[in-house]
Symmetry: D2
Subunit: 441 residues, 4 copies
Amino acid sequence: MDVSIIAIGGYEEVGRNMTGVKVGRDIILCDMGLRLDRVLIHEDVELEKMHSLDLINIGAIPDDTVLSKVNGRVRAIVCTHGHLDHIGAIPKLAHRYDVPIISTPFTTELISQQIQQEKKFGVENNLISLTAGSRFKITEDIELEFVRVQHSIVDCVFAVIHTPRGAVVYANDFKFDRTPIIGAPPDFQRLREVGREGVLALITESVRVNEQGRTPSERIASQMLNDLLMSLEDERGIIVTTFSSHLARIKTIVEVAERLGRMPVLFGRSMERYAGTGQKMGILDGNFECYSNRAQLEKKMKEMMREGKELYLPIVTGHQGEPGAVLTRISDGKTPFLIEKGDNVIFSSSAIPAPINIANRYAVETKLRMRGARIYPNVHVSGHAYREDHRDLIRILQPEHVIPTHGSIEMTGAYVELAEEEGYVLGSTAHILRNSQELIV
Amino acid sequence: MDVSIIAIGGYEEVGRNMTGVKVGRDIILCDMGLRLDRVLIHEDVELEKMHSLDLINIGAIPDDTVLSKVNGRVRAIVCTHGHLDHIGAIPKLAHRYDVPIISTPFTTELISQQIQQEKKFGVENNLISLTAGSRFKITEDIELEFVRVQHSIVDCVFAVIHTPRGAVVYANDFKFDRTPIIGAPPDFQRLREVGREGVLALITESVRVNEQGRTPSERIASQMLNDLLMSLEDERGIIVTTFSSHLARIKTIVEVAERLGRMPVLFGRSMERYAGTGQKMGILDGNFECYSNRAQLEKKMKEMMREGKELYLPIVTGHQGEPGAVLTRISDGKTPFLIEKGDNVIFSSSAIPAPINIANRYAVETKLRMRGARIYPNVHVSGHAYREDHRDLIRILQPEHVIPTHGSIEMTGAYVELAEEEGYVLGSTAHILRNSQELIV
Amino acid sequence: MDVSIIAIGGYEEVGRNMTGVKVGRDIILCDMGLRLDRVLIHEDVELEKMHSLDLINIGAIPDDTVLSKVNGRVRAIVCTHGHLDHIGAIPKLAHRYDVPIISTPFTTELISQQIQQEKKFGVENNLISLTAGSRFKITEDIELEFVRVQHSIVDCVFAVIHTPRGAVVYANDFKFDRTPIIGAPPDFQRLREVGREGVLALITESVRVNEQGRTPSERIASQMLNDLLMSLEDERGIIVTTFSSHLARIKTIVEVAERLGRMPVLFGRSMERYAGTGQKMGILDGNFECYSNRAQLEKKMKEMMREGKELYLPIVTGHQGEPGAVLTRISDGKTPFLIEKGDNVIFSSSAIPAPINIANRYAVETKLRMRGARIYPNVHVSGHAYREDHRDLIRILQPEHVIPTHGSIEMTGAYVELAEEEGYVLGSTAHILRNSQELIV
Amino acid sequence: MDVSIIAIGGYEEVGRNMTGVKVGRDIILCDMGLRLDRVLIHEDVELEKMHSLDLINIGAIPDDTVLSKVNGRVRAIVCTHGHLDHIGAIPKLAHRYDVPIISTPFTTELISQQIQQEKKFGVENNLISLTAGSRFKITEDIELEFVRVQHSIVDCVFAVIHTPRGAVVYANDFKFDRTPIIGAPPDFQRLREVGREGVLALITESVRVNEQGRTPSERIASQMLNDLLMSLEDERGIIVTTFSSHLARIKTIVEVAERLGRMPVLFGRSMERYAGTGQKMGILDGNFECYSNRAQLEKKMKEMMREGKELYLPIVTGHQGEPGAVLTRISDGKTPFLIEKGDNVIFSSSAIPAPINIANRYAVETKLRMRGARIYPNVHVSGHAYREDHRDLIRILQPEHVIPTHGSIEMTGAYVELAEEEGYVLGSTAHILRNSQELIV
């Protein structure tokens, strides 16, 4: 029975991930992601209203038309976590396939919200929630298993696709966090078993493979935030901005707020979406409020200004300086929450190193500084595996084939160099695929 | 008779240049410039309609309120060349002073246009045109002399302000081009004489003082453009984008177009303004057309597409990817001139290393590439003096005091290190001033 | 009574720190440091045998001849911590002054060792040990007080020089670590008191003033090392290299070794010197061995190879790839400790960003990789204050004057920008001094 | 008849180039190069005395043992130019093959010298000199043709290997210089014919494929040198350092020396070797002297110091700060030619961006500056094709397969991205090979 890997998106870029795993004639689609920076370079694109083909043309979503050349039928869509570069094209592409979308519970909830926002297409795929550690039979020959790992969003897993020829492991994205803030450590025991059972192919991200060593644990970010915030005990205004979807980080901030005797208040649409979902699902607890509706947000901010900034810890959107985000509006003086000399703004994030992000971030920082803010950037650790984590994964799984994805050719090339150190051979057992290529393994 | 240097703008940044030279009670103001990136970080600023104080507050124009603390009266405004970071604040500030604005002929013409565009203030200062090599008596004690140098705009001079205490030389900006494309080489003979007569103070730009060696001649840029364009002889579409105000560069491009048998056509509002002015004044000759009005521009482009791109060499605005510029609109497919696979786009400019410029430039290049364009960046040489040119100027003038301006503290600091190599002493004969400081020399 | 600050060394560079504080006619010298990279660019310099004037000429040690122009007499030499860029010139310069050298106990011990190694000069100054929190009367008018701070070496203090005109605080180098691994947190309470009593001048390092935010605590490095080493539990060979003088870091490594059930063994001459001193003085405890004599070192390594690498955790010199250091010799295969495929080498340090360091580090890493080592770089946090720590110090002390030192003009200039944000004025209350300048405050 | 490409060296690095082209059972070896930086990271390697296998082990020369696994016999060694990364391993490897070494006349001469210096092996291969534009029949089925291109060394060609299946073009290294200083422009006409006749495979360097646009002509470097040197007309000491093998550059410098009325004098062993060879062969004319023997060199320098530096233009080795090179010794004050304040040192080269080169270069520049020298770096243009030159080559030859070499995976990967823009498909018609892989085309 032939097994092949179909590179659909993410094999030439960071973003718009999508991979097909074909077993006999059955195809499992892993991820349907969005490449946001291809949207951002166009000034007047309204994502929600755009047609798939236009988005394919500007390189914003995967070009799944390649599937029409493959003699197979799609049987399921699988998503391993809820970031937009993995689920963001579902509203545009999933309706073409009459198959279920299988993902972890938190991911499923986010997919469901994505679909509801879509204005152009009606997406009616069945959403199936599968917890880490569980299995799901997709066809007679194909069984899906989710194995727990970590990332900068909760409920992230490897998708282990069991086939008659061995397992195909889809590991995009991940980090190995032995001391996570939310949830349990990686399920190394199960991964080792999977390795012993036999892995035909490992498909893995390569975003940070050029970073030497290991990714530090989220606990390090938590500790840094604790130290920093506690050192600001006597200050008045403190704002923290971070990834809305990073519930572990938000959990830390909420907890330190409590230690500081400040009320944590979340501001911004995506803060409400992700944290609200996390709260509802019992992933994120703690006593915090959340505002995104403009009128309510402004009302709350006025109250904070009136009662005293030192009583609150606002947690806001805008860590990349995104136009329209709460922090950006604060930096423009367009909200009731005013920056005063000596106020502290903590970026619990890294600046994404793309030119438009850098420019946005520069603008927001400059404007905050001009108002007298003290800036604390990069109180953060990465959610992507570094080089030695990748090496460990290879050693644990001992796959016959390795196929790096989620990166430009520099990144997938760098992964191949790592794989060569572990005995793999380019073109034979290590593969650089390009979007729309199929590899029979 | 006391002579002092009043740092008004440009002493902490690149942009918004303005310096006062006070001789007894009389003050000569050198430059009134704009810092464009302080405008750009605010999304909805309309420069033409803004009030001076608001622009001062966001750091976009010099804070000339410092002059109210100085016991003196302004007697003249002097501008040494026509770039916006030297003349761009005239519409906002000059009307406060009932004095003439003295500048070289091309600069005067540009200032006049600036004033006409202003929507907020009526500026009625007398404009006096003074050619390089000429002198003008401002007061009994103060005579102004213009000495020819070069820059990335024509008709650039040093302002030598003769005072009873010796000359104050304002050298902001300049390069020493021994083989310029337009005009004669630097007037080294006169500079040496000025040096021998005695220079009390040299106020000089520091933008590129950290570049080792000497700035290459404009002839190098000209040769590179010639070589490149001639190598594209058999190609169809070729577009060149460059600084609109850089008439020497445009002259080169127009001349190569003729060698190639292509009609040079200038597109864009600022192309029309600068090149039109240059043409009218006899600085820029050659057979070219110029379009900025949108309807006419589109008509011309349609004609070019119909008759064949290979007959034309469009020279367009947008080398920094500025929103709304012609090249940006071309990259968005919003003009009749369509980029086809293999078309060639030459950037005869360097990307200004500020985050917003980098982002704009990235966007326009990416969109051009997605349409199949071949990109030739950086066919350019700088218009600013490098380290050894600065050293030569010090050796020629042998000023008692050196005062670097037009730069952040890294740049003015680097200039001081150079000056120290030549025997100057920080705080004694070499000075780092900050905006609003006065130095008695 | 005039008080002045005499910039002797470190005001134009990182390294060779030396400052004079003159009170009336009495001078206190703070630090006598070495600039190692000025030695390194010369291939055949033997530091121990060189004469002071030659070292001054190549810029390796401070040019204290400036003191002959100052009408004053030196009364004491004060060192605030034991790094070479602060004490390394004592063997070459201290004998010229018949005064005591006052420093914290650990620093005193290191100075004593420095002096013993010197081959050219006999240094017989009296060494006085003063603990953090203590005071010492130097003259009728001058009293010295040490206030506890942190740095990448233990027993680091601010030198508070009490004068009739207020305190002069010498804060070079420091970090504020609220949760240090060795010793107590910064003595903020006393610093606040000093601020209230009145500070005439703050002389402070500027090495990392351009890093935004705050320096993370040493506890973060400790946590990262713990996480990383514990993740390598099942590996065979593990080597850690770090700064020999960084006893807090070594303490962490020794403790994790114990958790791992491995015997920590220190290798290298400076390891023996610093850790031995630390052990002797009761600063560093724990059960570890230490080898620097080549024969004993090789014997121990043979034993380790024979008994099994997995029983040991070698902690070695060579984190900058220094020629002759233990790690460098290991990478060359010149020691009995052999790198085998999969062995792990942890750099608990950052690469010093000077070209020669970068080259050495590159060479050692490349050779280790060629032998199959896994490399974990940068498991480290800085020992220097970041921008917001510097701001806090200014706010706590509220000095009349701030004088940045220990940096190039980019760094001291950046400090001035920070000071300006806090209301200081360059040339008036904030000062950029250059080596050999005197500032009357 | 099977044709295959055997990647031996240079497919994972810059340096140690070596490729096999197998036609049926016959193998043509292209290049046998040295990777110098692998020698440099070891402190005590004496190249001339080392054995091949040791040099293979440290990655310094190609691992040609792979050929033992290939069922074929070597019929010729072909070198397209004389740089060490292409011919430097001939002394170590060529004696294993009883075949002629075919190269252009200047290259042949350099190979001959290489062989004579070798101390370990006796190399007795027949050296055959073939001029650009000529053909040579190697076997019944294989004919070699040299086609003229340019590089930073004279007499550089493409090796066109005509086979029954079409041509295999070996294009490593090259630039397209339409206005070269020595020799004629690229033979585009013949290249176009070769393209029309049919090219089975293009093997090409990828060193600068990530540089956008086109490489400027050597004429630009010549012009910059002219401008700079003429601007120094009235100075006393001027030294130029450049690549010894870059005869076109040396020709320019010698000619400007004549314009300046200065006697050009070459110093250094490799200056003598290359320029002497060039002179002997009539490639480099002009009136200059050349010294490398230390006694004679010192005698000449003493004479220059005595008669006046302003009469001479020394052209010296050491542009990368190589230990032992003439400029390095000058910077150490170890030659009779003394640097005085204001002397000018021109680096007509770029700093090779490897850590050890950067460190060496830093050291030499620092020492020169400390002696008062003015430094003019980077008066240079590259000898490697930029991105659009590579695109042109593809368009001219229209090869069935493209195989980038001479680069790390980032570089060969970047070439593949370019090839994809031209319609090639990775793994099908565009290939990333790794050392020791064979590709059947």
